[in-house]
């Protein structure tokens, strides 16, 4: 399949919450986002490779779920201000069938029966040396709603139901990985997960991740 996605501006990102790009430059994309959003970012990058087996010593999705399917989550949920944008890049020249799956929370963030769960249930986020309270949709940190969810790190401390994707209508979008593909995700809006890693990709699936966190958390977006 021929893919000619190009990153010209953030219009598609704003509309859909994500965009795939082929043969683009991550540096150029970051620069474009920064200009259009009038923001500077702290950029943290790391390599993502599947972990062999679940371990107990560190509470990350990777050590907890190993090659299995990850639960839907947002990245950096343990930070008071999570990364605004997450950019994943396949630096390899081969394609991966193990997909990254996205869910747009705009589909259910206005779902009235779930208002209490998303906007009023209080969670304690444990982060080792810094714990804090938050709602899943937090409007007070930045002025713009931040959707935060990581079932491993967030413990419900108020009464009522906890968040469960099964209770809301949603349309998952599968992103298979083409060579040199880049995926840009609005991490304050989109949930993502990784499918269970297929056998052929357990040793060679490798993505580079860039987390972009606004330096001025009160900048307008």
């Amino acid at each position: 399949m021929s893919i000619k996605n190009e990153f010209k501006n953030i219009a598609i990102l704003k509309e859909k919450g994500f965009q795939t790009v082929v043969n683009g430059s991550v540096d150029a994309i970051i620069k474009q986002i920064s200009v259009e959003c009038n923001e500077s970012y702290e950029i943290v990058s790391n390599d993502l490779t599947p972990n062999k087996e679940p371990t107990n010593h560190k509470k990350t999705l990777s050590t907890t779920y190993g090659y299995n399917e990850f639960p839907f989550h947002t990245d950096g949920a343990h930070f008071l201000i999570p990364p605004r944008w997450v950019i994943l890049e396949s630096t390899n020249t081969i394609a991966y069938k193990t997909a990254t799956v996205l869910v747009d929370t705009f589909e259910f963030s206005n779902f009235v029966p779930y208002d209490n769960v998303l906007n009023h249930a209080i969670y304690l986020v444990s982060n080792g040396n810094y714990s804090f309270l938050t709602t899943i949709i937090n409007k007070v940190l930045n002025g713009k709603p931040i959707f935060r969810w990581n079932p491993l790190l967030m413990k419900l401390v108020s009464k009522g139901l906890t968040f469960d994707l099964k209770n809301v209508n949603h349309t998952p979008v599968r992103i298979e990985w083409h060579p040199k593909q880049i995926l840009i995700v609005d991490n304050w809006r989109m949930l993502h997960s990784r499918e269970a890693v297929i056998d052929e990709e357990k040793l060679n699936r490798e993505l580079k991740r860039y987390n972009l966190t606004p330096l001025d958390t009160h900048a307008s977006i």
């Binding site: 906007n119 309270l133 940190l141 108020s158």
Partner: protein, 319 residues
């Protein structure tokens, strides 16, 4: 500065209000959780402006902590009563009346926690719950939030209804009062009405620098509006004079002519004087700049000159 962090204070306030709303509305724990929530919401309002506003000023360590520095002592914040006092001084329509109500709620909680006396007996939630929601609304507005953000949809609708009922009750009482004073005044013979207006001018002139002159909604005469001072502008030079503006939230209205008085912002906001008002003050340049004239002129010489001017004794008489 986690202890003074805005997000944590707000979310904790929200958590405690949920605990209150889960309780029996006539039970002991409903007002107890409400009082905790109110304190945290008040603190979050200050923290939203700057966490430093919460720092205990007895030690620099607490201020440094508020700015994110590591300190050796445990961070300590100001007393709740001081929190309410500081809220009075920032421009958010939080009045002395609100301050009194908020302090009373917190005092009942302290009575419950720190004494053998049961709190919230003499001052049950039914007496102040509408005021509590109204105060929350003021504090939330300053955080660019609404009651719904704190209470959720259903509870906020109920709270808004309680505020509206309270407002409507106050509105009816104020309108009835105005009409009653109007009737009494205009039933007086014309000469008595005129006499009262003239006499009142003396009182108004005596107080005009401390209050704003407005038209009485009952008799239409000049009347006085005063309030809670919440800010003072920087001094400005105005055609050779030093002028300063004092900004007030109106909390007292009095008409010397017909006798009508309104004694709270809630009552005054029913009239046309609801907005904040400003009084101008002209400052003595000597006081403002801290000038002592004796440092600059020879007072004995000036006195001698004045005496000579007044008595006519000058050099001529010495001839």
């Amino acid at each position: 500065m986690q202890a003074f962090d805005y997000n944590n204070l707000f979310q904790k306030s929200k958590l405690y209000i949920q605990r209150a709303l889960d309780e029996d509305r006539e039970g002991d724990l409903f007002p107890f959780w409400i009082s905790l929530s109110l304190e945290l919401l008040a603190r979050s309002t200050l923290s939203k402006i700057s966490p430093a506003l919460l720092a205990d000023t007895n030690s620099n360590d607490h201020l440094l902590y508020a700015f994110g520095f590591e300190t050796t002592s445990k961070p300590r914040s100001i007393q709740t009563s001081e929190v309410f006092q500081r809220l009075l001084k920032i421009n958010i329509s939080f009045t002395q009346d609100d301050c009194k109500i908020a302090n009373s709620i917190v005092e009942q909680r302290n009575t419950e926690l720190h004494s053998a006396i049961k709190g919230f007996i003499d001052y049950p939630a039914s007496m102040w719950i509408a005021d509590f929601y109204r105060i929350c609304k003021i504090l939330l507005k300053s955080q660019m939030l609404t009651l719904e953000d704190l209470l959720g949809k259903e509870e906020s609708q109920a709270a808004e209804m309680m505020i509206a009922v309270e407002d409507n009750t106050t509105k009816k009482q104020v309108i009835d009062k105005i009409n009653a004073y109007k009737k009494v005044f205009f039933d007086l013979p014309i000469d008595q009405q005129k006499n009262k207006i003239v006499t009142a001018q003396v009182e108004i002139r005596r107080n005009y620098s401390k209050a704003k002159i407005v038209k009485c909604p009952a008799c239409g005469s000049d009347a006085l509006l005063s309030g809670d001072l919440f800010s003072i502008s920087a001094a400005k030079l105005d055609v050779g004079n030093i002028r300063q503006e004092k900004r007030y939230i109106p909390t007292k209205f009095g008409c010397v002519v017909c006798g009508l008085t309104l004694t709270s912002y809630q009552q005054i906001k029913i009239t046309d004087f609801a907005g904040q008002f400003t009084l101008e003050e002209y400052l003595d340049p000597l006081d403002y700049h801290g000038i002592d004239p004796e440092n600059h002129v020879d007072i004995d010489y000036l006195v001698q000159q004045k005496i000579e001017e007044m008595t006519g004794f000058g050099e001529y008489q010495d001839e």
